[in-house]
């Protein structure tokens, strides 16, 4: 069970490098065929300093730690019961290959529905680059299905 006392809890910041090889593998995994995400020259012609980070890849970089679910597990969340309910990205500036991004996350809210059968955890994450330029804000809503044991 989650504890509402954890609302406001700040997780340790995560720092992740945007590696070109990883971007290529991600592009392949999602079937990307737009050359702006695959070809350096196309990206640079479009005004990017390097290959751009595609819209949802920031979520992946945030998991770039040895134990990406550890923060949740420490709050009492079991992966067996965990589902992703909602995800938002708000963008302020582009991120590109070679950037080093820092993800600072806080537990925004915790609440239960259906008499505790469903618990919700809302995490808000601010992303900045190596120049402290604000790249994006992410909001992740996780649902924990307590009726399944």
């Amino acid at each position: 069970m989650l504890d509402t006392n954890d609302i406001g809890k700040v997780f340790d910041p995560i720092t992740a490098s945007v590696e070109k090889g990883r971007l290529s593998r991600f592009a392949k995994a999602i079937g990307e065929n737009n050359p702006i995400y695959l070809d350096d020259a196309t990206a640079k012609n479009a005004g990017y300093d390097d290959l751009p980070v595609p819209p949802t890849f920031l979520f992946c970089l945030k998991m770039d730690v040895p134990e990406p679910f550890e923060n949740y597990e420490k709050l009492g969340v079991s992966l067996l019961k965990l589902l992703h309910a909602n995800q938002s990205f708000e963008y302020f500036n582009a991120a590109v290959a070679g950037d080093v991004l820092t993800f600072s996350s806080v537990v925004e809210d915790i609440y239960a529905k259906k008499g505790g059968a469903l618990e919700f955890l809302i995490e808000k994450t601010k992303v900045v680059n190596q120049k402290n330029v604000h790249i994006a804000d992410l909001v992740t809503t996780l649902v924990i299905r307590n009726e399944i044991t």
Binding site: F26, A29, E32, D64, Y91
Partner: protein
């Protein structure tokens, strides 16, 4: 690239249809995304969680919605994407990603478009993701970059 004047409420974005989601798709996505949650790659773990089989990462389908949008506008025009995962996407789903222009407004001098985005499993016809993308098509708004 499409401009604000080209777009009208009720317009559909060019549809994006994906390949069938196979176990290989999920293995590749796990590796590339760093999301190694075993529920997506290990059938034994999935069964122990009460599922019949592994199922797709919700973020895989959200990435498909990202492709839908960036095939239509420059990514730097996307201000926000907010998506709800309404149902689990099973193996072998083929996702049909659609976008419908719902709003077109000039707000504080900025040209803003709101698009209803959805990802549907073509096998079952069920919508798996649904949300709103906010696009800013003000000219030169990213030239500062």
């Amino acid at each position: 690239m499409i401009t604000f004047d080209d777009i009208n409420i009720g317009d559909f974005l060019p549809v994006l249809s994906t390949e069938k989601i196979s176990r290989t798709t999920l293995a590749l996505y796990a590796g590339a995304s760093g999301d190694y949650n075993p529920i997506h790659i290990d059938i034994d773990f999935a069964k122990s969680a009460g599922m019949d089989d592994v199922f797709a990462h919700g973020m895989l389908s959200m990435a498909y919605l990202g492709r839908l949008l960036t095939n239509w506008v420059d990514q730097r025009n996307i201000k926000k994407i907010d998506v709800r995962f309404t149902a689990i996407t099973p193996l072998f789903a083929q996702m049909i990603c659609t976008g419908l222009v719902q709003k077109k407004d000039v707000l504080n001098g900025e040209n803003i478009i709101e698009v209803l985005v959805e990802a549907k499993d073509s096998n079952s016809g069920e919508i798996k993701l649904s949300g709103i993308a906010t696009i800013n098509l003000t000219e030169d708004q990213y030239s500062k970059a």
